[in-house]
Each structure stands twice: as C-alpha cells, then as structure tokens.
Symmetry: C2
Subunit: 232 residues, 2 copies
DNA sequence: ACCTGAACACCGTTCAAGT
DNA sequence: ACCTGAACACCGTTCAAGT
C-alpha cells in the first residue's frame, strides 16, 4: 500500500499526480503490480479516469521514465570530458538504483522522450567539447549503450540461493563438476565463500570497472586520432 | 500462419515439437503473439495439452532460449583466445539476428538454463586457456554482459521514420534545433542523408567496433598483469 | 459535456467433471 | 488414469448509457 497523506482524493487528479503515484506504486509493489486498474485504485478513482491524463499505458510508462531522467544530476561544467561523463553516468546509476523497475521500463520503450533526448544530447555534447570527432562520438555513444543510464544487461540475473545450507552445498558441488570455470570464479576473490554464480559480486565495482575500461579505450582512440576505417 | 506440413496433428505432441512450434510462431508472428492459447491453436490442440510438456509459460520461454543457444557454433580450438571469443560471440549474434525476439526473452529470464551455463563456462574457459587470471576473467565476463549473446542494449530502439518526406524534414529541423549534437551525428558519415537518430546506423559495425574495443582492452589489462586494486 | 459502469477481447492457469 | 471444457482472476481499452 503506497502512502497517501490526503487519502488520494483531496487534490484533483492531474498528469503529475498520476505519474508520481505510478512511480511510488512501482517502487513499493514492483512493476508487475503496476496496472491501470491498481493505479486507479491507489488514487481512489475509477480506471477510466486515468485516460484523461495519459493516452494509454505506454504513455504512462514514458512519463515514468521522464521522472527518473529528471533525477539525474545536471552536468558539471568544470571538469574534463572523461570525469564529466563518468560523474553523469554514475548519477544516472544512483537514480536507477532508487527505482529498481526503471531499467526494465527504459529498455522496453520504443520511442525516446524529449527529456531522454536532452540527456543523450548533453552526453554527446560533452564528448564533442572534449575534442572527440563527430564520428568517434557517434560510435562511442553506441558502445556505452544502456550504460549511459547506469545499468548493464547482466549475463543473467542473480539466482536466489537455496535457503538451506545442505541444498546450497549440494548445488555447488554439481555446479563445480559441470562448470569448472564458473565455479573457480564463484569461489575466488572477495566473494562470499562458496557463493553461487552472480551472488556475491560487487555490482558497483563491476559497473565502474567496465565504465573506466570503456572511457580509457575512448581516450586512447581519441589520442590516436581514430578515424573510420582506420582501426589499428 | 506458421507452416505445418502435417497439419500439426500427425505426430504426437512432445516437448521438442512444442518448443519448435513456439520458436516458429515467435519468428513468424512476433513474441507478443506467442500466448499459450495461440500456440495450442497452431498445434491443433487444446491449450491445456501444452501443460503436459512444459510446466508453465516461463518454462516454455526457457526452452526457446535453449533452442537458440543450441544454434551457436561450437568453439574453434585452433585459435588464440581473442579470435576464439570473437568468433563465438559473432556466431551468437547471427543466431540472435535470425530470431529477433530472442534478446528480449533472454534478458527477461530469471534463471540460467544448463545450456546457458555450458555456453558461459566455455567462454570463461577460453579466457582462462589464454592465460587470463581467474579474477580478470570474472570481471571481463561482467564487462561483456549481454554482448556474449551478440546483442547490446541500445540507447533507444530505432525510431520508425515518418513516411512522408515533408514530415520527415520538419521533424529533422526540430531535432536539429533542440539537439545539435545528436543532429550532427545523424547527418554525418555513411548514413542515409538526413536520417533520424538511430536509423541508418550500421548495427553490425557498431557491434564489432564495441566488441573489438573491449577485447583490446582485455588484452591490454592482461599484458599489464592486471590485479584487483591495481588499476592504473 | 462530462463521467463511468459494463462490456469486449484477451491473458495464464486451476479445477472439477466427463470419459 | 487421462483428458479437457469451463471457470477464475486478472489485463488494457472501447463504448454507450447515465447524469
């Protein structure tokens, strides 16, 4: 149940209230619970009342993406392009971590909103201001892909561990037999000892590791004067 | 309508026929048309008959992913790790391009299947055989992310262009005014002249550009003897 | 003119009745 | 024991009836 100080009835319904309620509902109950019917109930109105403020569910989801994009920090103009991009993307990541449903909604959109284009244009502008060519900026934006939003498509979502220790151990022995390389990764390093694949990984470390690898690669290409058809 | 040489009735229903029909239906009519009810109709059976061969829709989708994973070429053991990984991933990409729905299904799974783990273990094994440390192999697998499947999460899906040239031109002028950096990317290089963002990009070039940037980065870290907490 | 209840055309899945 | 039609508990959205 999402908190509603005014019982969801005092102020008249408007687009902003609809969007904020949708975000709150998705935050609290998960994106699968966000139906037009549930949202209407949360707001104390009949489902059809929502269609006065959003044309359909697609437009509702678009609006929710805009709410999240609005939470990304504005650019810091006093740094080099590398630091600027890095800070911006890590800010986007913080926004996304506050709204776990957002990455799935972003990747399911078929049209960018104006706010989304603003953000992307600003990122591209930072590369250009840093001296990267139009061409290199273009390709580099593609390489970043969903990472500009602060998330990455993982190999597979973290599997929930079996709760009982003995089932856990049994599963791990089976895993180690059939998948030796995955097992050695899972058992190595700073992980929970004996954790199963994907658990115990430090998501933030992995994200920054990848981001810095990419930014270093971009810088190297830029300094080498990269041009199309000119790959070393 | 999916082709059914035997009218979908001759051979008795089994799991394999269900999965192959599901893949064919998704290929032909799109993943949104793949419902248990539609699939049953395609096979000439009552919807509940499917539940004898798959526990539920989740398991059906898992089985479909396995069909696609089965189409990835086996590893070529006569090359270095870099070429080996590159070939394997480009093979996965070809399989995915044959089944446009597959990337969305892969990213929506919550549990890897045994075949998926086989593939990932094989990729990790190639890095290890090339001499990369367990730690570096681990992080490098995370950096690849969905790229091991041959797809990337784009910034946003390609917007369909307005069909009428004048609407097209008007949209582009508006775009250029508000989004100068996106516009200069869209108008530059080898694209359709005046194309809108995301259209006219050579997806295969972008994919290979990113993949090679990453593989070069991995090689550099490996040669530098990268270790955790040792980033230059 | 505005609002909204009922209805439409779907889902995935359960369950009990029929063979 | 097996199979399956009807039913359940949902969807997003249309539409016409009521105010």
């Amino acid at each position: 149940m999402v908190q509603q100080p005014d019982g969801g009835r005092r102020s008249p319904l408007n687009r902003d209230r609809v969007l904020r309620a949708a975000v709150a509902l998705a935050d609290a109950a998960g994106i699968d619970s966000l139906s037009m019917r549930n949202l209407a109930q949360e707001l104390g109105v009949v489902p059809m009342a929502l269609y006065k403020h959003v044309a359909n569910k697609e437009e509702l989801l678009e609006g929710m993406v805009d709410v999240i994009v609005g939470e990304i920090d504005p650019p810091d103009l006093d740094t080099g392009w590398k630091t600027g991009i890095r800070q911006r993307i890590l800010s986007a990541r913080r926004a996304l971590l506050r709204h776990p449903w957002a990455s799935r909604v972003i990747e399911s959109r078929s049209q960018p909103t104006l706010l989304v284009l603003d953000y992307l244009d600003s990122i591209a502008g930072t590369f250009r201001a840093g001296g990267l060519s139009v061409d290199l900026t273009h390709h580099v934006m593609h390489v970043l892909g969903s990472r500009v939003w602060g998330f990455t498509q993982e190999l597979f979502p973290a599997s929930p561990l079996p709760a009982e220790p003995e089932a856990h151990a049994a599963m791990f022995r089976e895993l180690a037999g059939r998948y030796p390389h995955i097992a050695e990764i899972a058992t190595s390093g700073a992980h929970d000892e004996g954790s199963v694949v994907g658990r115990g990984c430090d998501d933030q470390f992995e994200f920054e590791f990848a981001l810095d690898l990419l930014l270093d690669g971009f810088e190297r290409l830029h300094q080498q004067g990269w041009q199309s058809g000119n790959r070393s």
